[in-house]
Amino acid sequence: MRAPHRVVITGVGAVTAVVSGGADAVARAIAALIPTDAERVDRALAQLVDHGEARRLSRVSQLTLAAARIAIDDAGLEANGALGIVLGTELGDLRSTIGFADGFLSRGPAGLSPLLFPNTVMNTMAAATAIALGARDLSLTLNAPTVAGEQAVIRAAAAVAAGRAAALLAGGVDELDPAVGAVLEEAGGRFAARGEGSALIVLEALGAARARGARILGEILGTASASLPASPYGVGRRASSLVIRRALAEADVRLAALRAIYAGENGDARRDAWESRVLENAAPGTPTGPPLARQFGQTSALGPLKVVAAAREAPALVHGLARGGSEVALVVGAAPVE
């Protein structure tokens, strides 16, 4: 079913250990395979979030706000009420949750911090960013293993296409915290090499973007998502899926026209193998782009980063498949020609 508006990308903001910056910086970093720099994130936060704000924002919220500021600036937009945010995250603000609980375990009820409590709910990053920006349009947080960033872009694109929102920041964030990491390792090991960072793209309707003379980086041509059979957080056996076909159909793009697939290869061997089999079936012969998860580490920021990379090699496909079976596909096109 055709939606009324075409959805275009007008800005990018990323704060990661590989790169901090807008569309051009991100594109250069991906092309040059720049490695991670552990201090880059902290330097970026010091620049983009002032002391007064930082006092009340957990680190993962600061990451989100910082990326949002870069993205809005990159898009040439102003932070105002007609802006919203759709944010994906896998781990949220677990650091604050542990801190809150430990306050009680150390000192009883008097050790509970009211300031930390709101951070124990995963919408804290989106809420804090919306407050800082005065953004009063749609605000949603999605939680999923591996593909939360892609899901956020899909959800945001649907809202813009249907005219439910004018301009949305869409993307994902995850932080690396030693305490959280230690707990996760005890819980069942780290399959993928994790990273940290936030990335947000700005999505607008084509008409509105053109009307304000925005630079257009690409277009979301089609999306689809579904679930393959698997046990919770397990790797499934089925390798035949309709998701890519559906995304291509909505995009009105032929499989043969795809120049690349940006998939989710992230070092989780069994998951990677499953996705490879699915891609072999659905898009045999289509070359895969460089595995951004290897460069950036596994975070929910990968979804929008893959979309940005795909836009530069358009038409290209972004694909994600999580343990447990959640599968996503986005077809990304070049900036529409007038």
Binding site: A101, F117, G134, S139, N143, A226, P229
Partner: protein
């Protein structure tokens, strides 16, 4: 235009398992808020809450919240009579906040203090995240459509219904299972205590003497379906989900905007979506947490949208407490049932309506009222406002 109807209902509430049990409880105005047994409460000012009684069932290797979700989801799917093939295309949109935090807390507490009670294995941590309910439900119930978990604090359950309806209206799917689930957690209980937002007695929404919230737990899921398809397969339609509004205050992490502007916008958007005038709405199932702030501001927003005294208002939280991520969906369920039964559930413990609340709050006893439309409000921390509009007859 594609219309969305409700074709299946499922719930686990502080009254017990099942939709019938839930309706019997709220229609009778029964308060299910009692001394807490699930977690330690000594040393805290408020020691009561609305717990789901024993007998939820399900494997104890699953988190409590997953078990609540699974029981409610199963009931909804069976009620809708969805076939195996239907389920392969059914989207799953879950509102969640605490996830499996209760079991993770038990594990963490024991690590710090050998004498802490309860037992939880390291495996408990695998279900800690809010997304675990969708993983459990999706896998166990063989749901093959899009799978998403929304976290918007106290409005998560309602947001899941709004987004599921969008998926159907947009044409992405024809059927969706949507709703929310939450189990009591120490963090939630302690946090609201620390913020001094809990009433040591069962909460009294919209009452002049209210002193704060009561917490609760539960789960509710609704099957939403494209109207023509539902009719074609002879599905029973409870009501139409005719409109939804999702807005953001962008004001403060815990306090609502004092003007109630975001709340009013959510309500107006929902009404506009259903092309319904305020005068056509017979009942508002309020967010009604019984905090001094929420009730006053929500009443102001209601006045702005409907005019004084022009609609019946009641809060289900007076009976089941604030069930967090489940609230939006349990209360949507209450709203649908109110329409189908022609009965408005009451506000329990209501003695003296606050002068700032110029509405009939249906005190203590349910009211017969034949209505064409009703709305359900859910306003979450961080100013995440959701209003759902239901239309009778499907």
């Amino acid at each position: 235009m594609r219309r969305v109807v409700v074709t299946g209902l499922g719930a686990v509430s502080p009254f017990g398992t099942g939709v019938k049990t839930f309706w019997a409880g709220i229609a009778a105005g029964t308060c299910a808020i009692r001394p807490i047994k699930l977690i330690e409460s000594e040393g805290f000012r408020c020691q009561i809450g609305a717990e789901v009684p024993d007998g939820v069932g399900g494997s104890h290797r699953r988190s409590r919240a997953d078990r609540l979700a699974l029981a409610a989801a199963r009931e909804a799917l069976d009620d809708a009579g969805l076939s195996h093939d239907d389920r392969l295309e059914t989207a799953l949109i879950v509102g969640a906040v605490g996830g499996g935090m209760l079991e993770a807390e038990t594990w963490h507490w024991r690590r710090r203090d050998r004498a802490a009670r309860g037992h939880a294995s390291i495996g408990a941590l695998r279900s800690i995240l809010p997304s675990s309910h969708a993983e459990t439900l999706g896998c166990r119930l063989h749901l093959g459509g899009p799978r998403e978990t929304l976290v918007t604090a106290c409005s998560s359950g309602a947001a899941s219904l709004a987004v599921a309806a969008e998926l159907i209206a947009d044409g992405s799917v024809d059927v969706a299972l949507a709703g929310g689930a939450d189990a009591l957690t120490r963090i939630c209980f302690m946090g609201f205590n620390a913020l001094k937002l809990l009433d040591p007695r069962p909460c009294r929404p919209f009452d002049r003497d209210r002193k704060g919230m009561s917490i609760g737990e539960g789960a509710a899921f609704l099957v939403l379906e494209e109207a023509t398809r539902a009719r074609a397969r002879g599905a029973r339609g409870y009501a139409e989900l005719a409109g939804a509004g999702m807005t953001t205050d962008a004001f403060h992490v815990t306090a609502p905007h004092p003007d109630g502007d975001g709340m009013a916008r959510a309500m107006r958007t929902a009404l506009a979506g259903g092309r319904v005038a305020p005068a056509d709405v017979g009942y508002v199932n309020a967010h009604g947490t019984a905090t001094l702030q929420n009730d006053r501001i929500e009443a102001a927003a209601l006045r702005a949208v409907f005019g004084e005294g022009r609609v019946l208002v009641s809060s289900t939280k007076s009976m089941i407490g604030h069930t967090m991520a489940a609230a939006g969906s349990l209360e949507a369920l209450a709203t649908v049932l109110a329409l189908t039964h022609g009965v408005v559930p009451p506000t329990a413990q209501h003695e003296h309506t606050d002068p700032d609340v110029p509405f009939d709050c249906v005190p203590r006893v349910a009211r017969e009222a034949s209505m064409s439309h009703a709305i359900s409000n859910s306003f979450g921390f961080g100013g995440q406002n959701v209003t759902l509009l239901f239309r009778a007859g499907a």
